[in-house]
Amino acid sequence: MIPTARFVEVTKKYGRVTANEQVSFSILPGEVHALVGENGAGKSTLMGILSGFVRPDAGTVLIDEAPVRDATPATMLRHGVGLCAQHFHQVPTLTGYENIALGRAGKRGLFGSLRGDRKRIRELMQRYRLDVELDVPVDDLSLGERERVEILGLLYRDSRILILDEPTAVLAASEVESLLQTMRTLAAEGRSIIFVSHKLPEVLAVADRVTVLRGGRVVETLPRRDVDTERLVRLIVGGSPPRPAQWSAQVPGREVLAVRDATLGRLDGLSLTVSEGQIVGVGGVEGNGQKELASALLGYEPLVSGEIRFMGEPVKRDVRKFRRSIGVIPEDRHREGLILGRSLVENGALGRHDRSPFSSAGVLRWDKMRAHAAEIIDVYGVRPGDATLPARSFSGGNQQRFIAGRELSQRPPLLLAVHPTRGVDLGAVQFLHGRLLEERARGAAILLITADLSELEAVCDRIHILYRGRSFYEAARNEIDTDGMQSALLGLGPSESRR
């Protein structure tokens, strides 16, 4: 079979950081080809090269066995390569429809109708069961919906090499199922699907072949039948897999955070409490009030009604003080967690830069900041281990490790973790879970907002499933039944309180 795309000894360096080194492998027509590896293994850079956004330093990309030189997104598009990026390439102010039609904007007459292809997009929506509202700005859509818009866009351009970079990271379980289905359908039509993922069960469920990257190099490309989870994990981490974090019973202390009848946007009268030495998980399909809950706790928006209490005191005007006395792993690490253009030295002190030990008499103590960043890098295994690099040159998982390190190093009484392991590799997931449990053992109260049910089951003492802004299903750890939790995601099943 003639490969649709082939990498030949592709190398890419970012300054001192090697993203890809001598990468060679090929993608066949009609296959779902999974690309796995830890954060920073070079997956996204490689996909950037294939889609023309990133220019390799050396090596060649072949499409249909013909080398593509000086590739740009436009040339790769013409060759049928379509990228669904992890952080979507969309114009947030334009509607889904406009985003999809954008590629054709230049190919019409000055006032050529933008409406002509609506019918074709409708057909694609039906054929691939990618239902989404197309007439609102994509900014107003959930991440799952935005992803469907993106995939529709690839299909509309009739891409035959579809790159899906971490597509399931933002999806709920039911949505994941249908996406995997869609991938199979597309491959059956003879298209090549490149599936970049950290979720090994999904990889094993859908892939025909798997390529493992480690440290920017290809470890191996294997057919699906030759791998299982354990083998894959070994190849990814290059040794024996990390041990999953172990939860153990512990008596919670006094109440740290109380949210009562919180109402704001889609949040509709939510109540919950978190105590010392307790991890409370909030799950559910995206868009059921999670964003508003985080937003209210972070003081971005005041509650319309209801109340937030911290250590028994209502949090009102002193939101800023509250915010500074807790630890936060924010949902959007690029916007809320880091200053991407600044070094880890500076990012490590962020939020405490004006206090001891990072400042004395209003003057920054760079030595302390450097030492602090180096310590986080060391303890949290951030790679590459160079604190002078700007935050943007680290992969998502390493950025997340660093943020977690910064927030937890303050030993906060309360930690708010919002989707802390989204788009993060297995090693980092288990490391972060382990850290959360250690903080819990220390006596921290932790509120964990996540879309990942297995995460809820792995670390939480108590869970709430949000549905339409309320706690639809609530259970202590030993009472959790997975089926009940699953159906609660859709607002089904008994909703009686299980206190």
Partner: protein, 301 residues
């Protein structure tokens, strides 16, 4: 009474025309993501170009084209410096404003041996020349051009493929690039349009005055930028904001200083802009990637 009202209205419209043209120009540039402080210099350069070409060729309409051409030339300079040279857009704009001021001043000296103004000339004139002010305005082709351009700008921005791509260049350049279209190309097109419109605004000024005088743009480019912000980068609203500013200026000319100090009325456009910027009358959201050169392989995101 009616006569006075019509005369007032005519003056408001006349004063507003250059604001409308220049502000529409700014809108095209900024929608594509390029800040265009250079409008002030483009206005001045356009006015000078229109005067020189009209005087040289004796044709008013060739003069209009000359004004637009000079505007586009200055805009192209701004575009090349900021889009491909990745220079700071504000600094480049300021530099072009100073360049325009110096070059027109030098041009006056060299061409006409004057430090202050060009010889008098007849530009494009109203078909009702010499009639009542309002009628005269209604007969002016450039007035109708400006009015038509407001509608055309709207259609171009929001009803055409070009406009969609241009807005994408300002709001999500990576998506535009990913769709296979040239971010830099669309941005440059937006900047060039702003040059043509700014040059036309300058042409109006010089046509009204029948001669070019040193520094005659007199801050109008900045007022136009303010109107663009108040109008939230939307052609109709931008035009309304320009009319509001034009009305304030007319009042300032007409109302005797005993009533309200004229300085206060002069401040009005800027006060309104500050109020809008502060979000007191509906927040104005600039294009999301305004002021940023596009870097394809920049961030890892």
């Amino acid at each position: 009474m009616i006569e006075i009202t019509l005369a007032f209205l005519a003056q408001v419209l006349r004063i507003s025309v250059p604001y409308v043209l220049a502000a529409l120009g700014g809108t095209f540039s900024e929608r594509g993501g390029v800040i265009n402080i250079a409008l002030e210099g483009i206005l001045l350069g356009g006015a000078f170009g229109a005067a020189v070409i009209t005087l040289a060729t004796g044709s008013a309409w060739v003069g209009v084209l000359g004004g637009m051409a000079v505007g586009m030339l200055l805009a192209a300079l701004h575009g090349v410096i900021t889009i491909w040279g990745r220079a700071d857009q504000i600094l480049s704009g300021l530099a072009i404003n100073m360049l325009a001021l110096g070059a027109t001043r030098g041009g006056l000296k060299v061409l006409y041996g004057s430090a202050s103004n060009s010889p008098r000339f007849e530009g494009v004139s109203s078909v009702f020349e010499g009639r009542a002010a309002f009628l005269q305005l209604l007969g002016h082709p450039l007035f109708w051009m400006a009015a038509g351009l407001v509608i055309l700008a709207y259609l171009l921005l929001f009803r055409s493929g070009f406009g969609l791509a241009l807005r994408a260049a300002g709001d999500g350049p990576r998506a535009l690039d990913g769709a296979g279209l040239s971010v830099d190309g669309y941005r440059f097109a937006g900047v060039l349009l702003s040059g043509a419109l700014g040059g036309l605004a300058g042409t109006w000024l010089v046509t009204e005055q029948h001669s070019f005088t040193d520094g005659m743009s007199n801050g109008r480019g900045y007022i136009a930028l303010a109107a663009m912000i108040v109008g939230k980068w939307h052609p109709y609203k931008v035009a309304l904001a320009c009319l509001l500013f034009g009305a304030a200026e007319t009042l300032q000319i007409r109302v005797s200083a005993e009533w309200i100090p004229t300085q206060f009325l002069q401040m009005l456009p800027y006060l309104v802009t500050l109020v809008v910027l502060a979000g007191w009358i509906g927040r104005a959201h600039p294009p999301r990637h305004l002021g940023e050169p596009y870097d394809r392989s920049g961030a890892r995101s």
